[in-house]
Subunit: 332 residues, 2 copies
DNA sequence: TTTTAGCACTCTTCTTAAAGAAGTGCTACT
DNA sequence: AGTAGCACTTCTTTAAGAAGAGTGCTAAAA
């Protein structure tokens, strides 16, 4: 357990480092702690032994370690209200009634990204408790049809299908009718198995190209579950941070942004706004990720801010909380 | 006009520089030109005076200037057939009949990007000569409907609409019916004005929420014309090129990739495969862009490869030509 | 027992110098 | 016209020294 002064010191070091991005020396903190630099040094040694502070080299000032930040976020950060300025900017989004959910999310994260110079990510995903509302098959030429699937939450997916032979108009509408009759109201996740085991046996008798149609629907439906859209804003913002000052750092972080498994790395399951620091972020040792899941009736997904470990935690936390709350209220 | 030997020399310098990425000295070319380094130097001076070669400093070897590359591409590049290996890889795409246009394009450019280590861009855009095939309005809750627009080229757009008051089911289907009757077959570009001037007067009498519906359709339709999708592959590939060795170079090029007006910078109007070098590329002084427009019945757009000026022009040219040709044939 | 002053020490950063390499331009010769 | 030779320029690398920042430790003061 840290003493009051040690906590105070840790806090000062971190906040100073967040501002300046350079190691903090003992002298700089004398006045604020009302003691001499020697005393500060002694305390710093202790904090270093405990793993909260580090040195970049033997005679440098101190920088916070990942667990230093961790301690700071968990224990030292007073639950700060969102600042008036920041709130004002976000309000322009949530007071606009013409925006649909995805726009509101994108735009509000854009604001965060702009004013903080960090990078934001939205991981949109259609929630799995969509129910099928309507199926439509529209022929657009001799051997091309479009399968359209609409859910009760207002999500529309479509898939173009090339048929090997031309399909009879009648067969098509019969199929569609049947599909609608049997599928409307079914949770999307159950549709594929229903297609396979309940509908296929009935319909395969009198529709020649059933296989093809089946596949097309299968693909259109899999877009709901598989395809999680990732939207970045301000990918280059984070490069303005002084921690990315070498070519390799920059290349490294950029290629992480582009990497295929970004989804699994960003996706959040918890319901609170959480802070992941460094190694802990699963993303990159040199960044912190603040993220949360949002959940409305129609959708759920993750919103995240990626910044240097030396990040304005309180500010970002309060903004993300504000956004999450308003999204969930407004699009409930 | 350049002498035979001068052309030969220019070609050798460029090809050597493309391989090595370092200034080419006179000694390196003696054997190939069967003369002494002094002679090579004399010719080099001449080529420098003509603006085709440059020095990085007073006693360095030569590197090609933008107009050097230009001359090379326009006059020295024998129209090279695509190499067997490259062709083989691309054939896997075009022999697959399950791919729709946009997938085929993306995947083939992915291949180019992978094997060349340059960055590729696809600028997809629904062609304007889509005709409206079907309009659908699906209510999903009390005061939410989805407007769906389908064209004869198989493009589907949808827009969710929040209605201020709940809409009568009957009114909705009447409206939809009318819209279909009057709009089917209309070129997409003409739909808005038709909506405004022909349909509005008729319908506004007996549908309360006509304004809202109108706006929704308007927005769904504008997605066809406005929204040009930009898809990059291998954004980080180009960073492997040695010309991007300083932080600023990297940051600079990355932020160009992210910039808003990327569309206008990449979009190509010409029908051939064209090469833009350096300043000429409109994109960045340090890159070359090879691009062409593709055009099928349903779509048109631009495909482009962005690489260093020191790019394997012949290879990329032949691959892009191959891709363009096969796309246009296959999806004609 | 806690705090402080003082000092030697370490490591970084900046500047300068010197040595080596690469390659040119020019002159004079073939 | 082509070539050999050489002085010259510039870059790159390495080394060395000086200045600056900040530490850890010791011993004295509170």
């Amino acid at each position: 357990m840290l003493s009051g002064r040690q906590e105070e010191l840790l806090k000062l070091v971190i906040e100073e480092y967040i501002k300046s991005a350079r190691p903090v020396g003992s002298k700089a903190l004398c006045k604020k702690l009302k003691c001499s630099s020697a005393t500060v040094r002694n305390e710093m040694m202790l904090l270093e032994e405990l793993g909260y502070l580090e040195k970049t080299h033997i005679s440098s000032g101190r920088i916070p370690s990942s667990s230093g930040y961790r301690y700071y976020v968990d224990n030292l950060l007073e639950p700060k209200e969102i600042s008036g300025d920041d709130m004002l900017k976000l309000q322009t989004i949530f007071s606009n009634n013409n925006l649909v959910l995805s726009e509101a999310i994108s735009k509000s994260l854009e604001i965060v990204s702009d004013i903080t110079n960090y990078t934001s990510v939205v991981l949109g995903s259609a929630s799995k408790d969509n129910n099928l509302m309507k199926v439509e098959v529209v022929p657009i030429s001799q051997n091309k049809v479009i399968a359209i699937v609409i859910t009760d939450k207002g999500i529309v997916e479509n898939k173009q299908i090339n048929l090997s032979e031309s399909v009879d108009q009648n067969e098509l509408s019969k199929t569609t009718e049947l599909l609608n009759k049997m599928l409307v109201g079914t949770p999307i996740s159950l549709v594929p198995s229903k297609l396979e085991f309940e509908i296929k046996p009935i319909i395969s008798n009198y529709v020649k190209n059933y296989e093809v149609l089946y596949n097309a629907f299968y693909e259109a439906l899999s877009d709901f579950t598989n395809e999680k859209e990732v939207r970045f804003t301000g990918k280059t913002n984070i490069l303005k941070q002084p921690e990315f000052s070498t070519v390799d750092d920059v290349k490294n972080i950029i290629s992480k942004f582009e990497s295929k498994d970004i989804v699994s790395k960003i996706e959040e399951t918890g319901n609170e706004v959480k802070v992941y620091i460094g190694e802990n972020s699963e993303f990159d040792d040199n960044v912190a990720v603040i993220k949360t899941k949002y959940k409305t009736k129609a959708n759920e997904g993750t919103i995240a801010i990626i910044g240097p470990k030396r990040m304005e935690y309180d500010r970002v936390l309060s903004m993300l909380e504000y956004i999450k709350k308003h999204i969930e209220e407004k699009y409930e």
